[in-house]
Amino acid sequence: MIQQLVNGLALGGLYVTFAIGMALIYSVLRVLHIAHGAMILVGAYCSLLLLPFFGDNLVITIIIGMLVAGFVGTLVGMGVYVRLLKSKSSTKYDTILLASVAILIASQEALMILFGVRHKQYPTPINSLTINIFGISLFVIQIACALVSFVSMFVLWVFLTKTDEGRALRALDQDPQLASLSGVNPLKTYIITLFTGSMLGGLSGGLLSLYYNDVHPEIAFVPVNIALAVIIVGGLGSIPGTIIAGLILGILETTALAYIPLTFPRTLVSFIVLIVILLLRPRGIMGRP
């Protein structure tokens, strides 16, 4: 049914929004940024809690959420990741991974202490707004997510190909040693990457919490898991791959839920696809070998 297809694509669009940030950070820093979940939370909490200060204007609070997430993400990334990356230890990536998870858990707990354990709602929920074309319903927020994905993809593309910093990013991605030899400043690139990726994370947090009308420290956990699956299936280091993978996983999950008579958790589908891809084509749909 076409509605299910649309549902799936829309869900995929949502998945892409939180996976892009993580994909970007991986492609430059080679770090599995599980703490990206913290950016999602920052974005969500800012969008909701700042509303009274800005006249209930959602657009403003979401944008502020994005910026705050960008700053926090950069601080965390530079303070923790870069410092650990400098170590010569062969196990530094495992340590970084642990630190990343610890950061996510710490932020969940901190938010729980600061803002309480009850789920919060937006004062004027807009998550049931839909537009109806030819009998197919599409949620307004889903459209927003799709827009975000396209716009960010476009902006990223322009950035990566047309600007100096962007080219530096790509150079670092391809060959770190050569890049630093030719004068690329890795630190500056890291900062830009972290800021952009975290900003996107914050934005996805705002949209996610709006769509489900739920602000709570644990709303980032499942998205982080899904984002991990998406970036691997799409191919680590490939942004277009991430987008395609997100859409495909969204469609697969929706179809499975709709047509398979058994009962199972939705994310199981993504993880099964993940395992299958890992076994058959580990580099993902568009990853480089």
Binding site: Q121, N127, T130, L257, A258
Partner: protein, 347 residues
């Protein structure tokens, strides 16, 4: 000192203490103050057992109030049964807890609410096809089962039946299927963080049938979450354990808030309060011999508690009328009080 009680979680404890204070302020029972002894069971069955034994053997309680969690209450209940001390269960829902003969539920199992909902859906809403989406949770599955049983017995048909994991918020796939199945009533997951997106997504997808939820959605957060959507289409119907408009209940809520500075919270606090009041009433008449207290509980009729009126006790389960609420102008409004014995009985 008449010694009583056990451990029930914060809201329950607060509720019970409120009752204890009220009673002691007017001189206690038959002139003697009542004492509530509370221990933390640490969340494990072993802890529950240790604490039960302590209360019975070391503290010499005459009656107990059992823990919130079902596995814990099962463990403690067995100890009370074994030692012939009566115990009241304010919240835990597992059927086996009250089978020992000395434990009596003041809350409800999941079955009674489920049956009431099934009855309401078929008879009052006139629905013939039921779609069911609930969490993988023993409690929810239990009342969903009961609802399906009653619904089909009355002549309806279950056209969609799926379970979701706790915290699931994405329902577009299932709702689209439900729409295609022609269901005319839907049972949704009852936790409000799940029921809110469920309702919004349903109405957004133009699924306009009436939707029913269990008691966890009968909270202000749900109303906030579904602001303008709650009255669309066939409406939303939420189960509750208590009739909020009942003066006893609303007075209790006010007293609680005045005393503790926060909302009276979930059913457990109301029913724990009732446990103390019930025991006080019985002890007043029958004295504090545990066996006599037990007889008193079994003979109880039409006890008007803040957590609902207990019509009577049958095999350890209390029979209470069950209220179902709908939403009008962003408030919960009583739609029906189910009193037919057949549909409020947990058996």
């Amino acid at each position: 000192m008449t010694g009583v009680e056990a451990w029930i979680g914060f809201d329950g404890y607060n509720g019970a203490m409120l009752a204890v204070e009220e009673i002691n302020m007017v001189g206690g029972i038959n002139g003697r103050p009542i004492q509530l002894i509370n221990y933390d069971d640490g969340g494990s069955p072993e802890g529950a057992v240790t604490v039960s034994r302590k209360l019975i053997f070391e503290d010499g309680v005459v009656a107990g109030i059992l823990n919130q969690g079902s596995e814990l209450a099962l463990a403690s209940g067995k100890i009370f049964d074994g030692e012939n001390i009566p115990a009241l269960v304010p919240w835990a829902g597992h059927e086996d807890i009250v089978k020992g003969g000395w434990c009596f539920r003041v809350g409800l199992t999941a079955r009674a609410p489920g049956k009431a909902m099934g009855y309401y859906a078929y008879t009052v809403l006139g629905a013939k096809k039921l779609a069911c989406v609930v969490t993988v949770d023993p409690y929810e599955e239990s009342y969903a089962e009961a609802m399906k049983e009653v619904f089909t017995k009355l002549g309806g048909q279950v056209v969609y039946d799926k379970l979701v994991e706790f915290g699931e918020k994405e329902y577009t796939a299932m709702l689209t299927e439900i729409k295609a199945s022609g269901a005319d009533v839907i049972l949704g997951p009852h936790d409000f963080s799940m029921s809110i997106p469920f309702t919004s997504q349903a109405r957004g997808l133009e699924v306009m049938t009436p939707i029913m939820f269990g008691s966890s959605s009968c909270v202000p957060e749900y109303l906030d979450g579904v602001k303008d959507v709650g009255e669309l289409g066939g409406g939303v119907f939420v189960l509750s354990y208590m009739v909020f408009e009942d003066p006893l209940t609303s007075q209790y809520a006010e007293k609680y808030e005045a005393r503790y500075g926060k909302a009276a919270g979930p059913t457990a606090s109301y029913t724990s309060y009732d446990c103390i009041k019930m025991l006080a009433q019985i002890i007043e008449q029958a004295g504090d011999d545990p066996a006599k207290i037990r007889e008193g509980i079994m003979a109880l009729k039409d006890f008007k508690g803040v957590g609902g009126t207990i019509a009577k006790y049958e095999q350890g389960e209390c029979l209470k009328p069950i209220p179902i609420y709908s939403i009008k102008e962003n408030k919960f409004v009583l739609a029906q009080l189910v009193t037919e014995l057949e549909y409020i009985s947990p058996f």
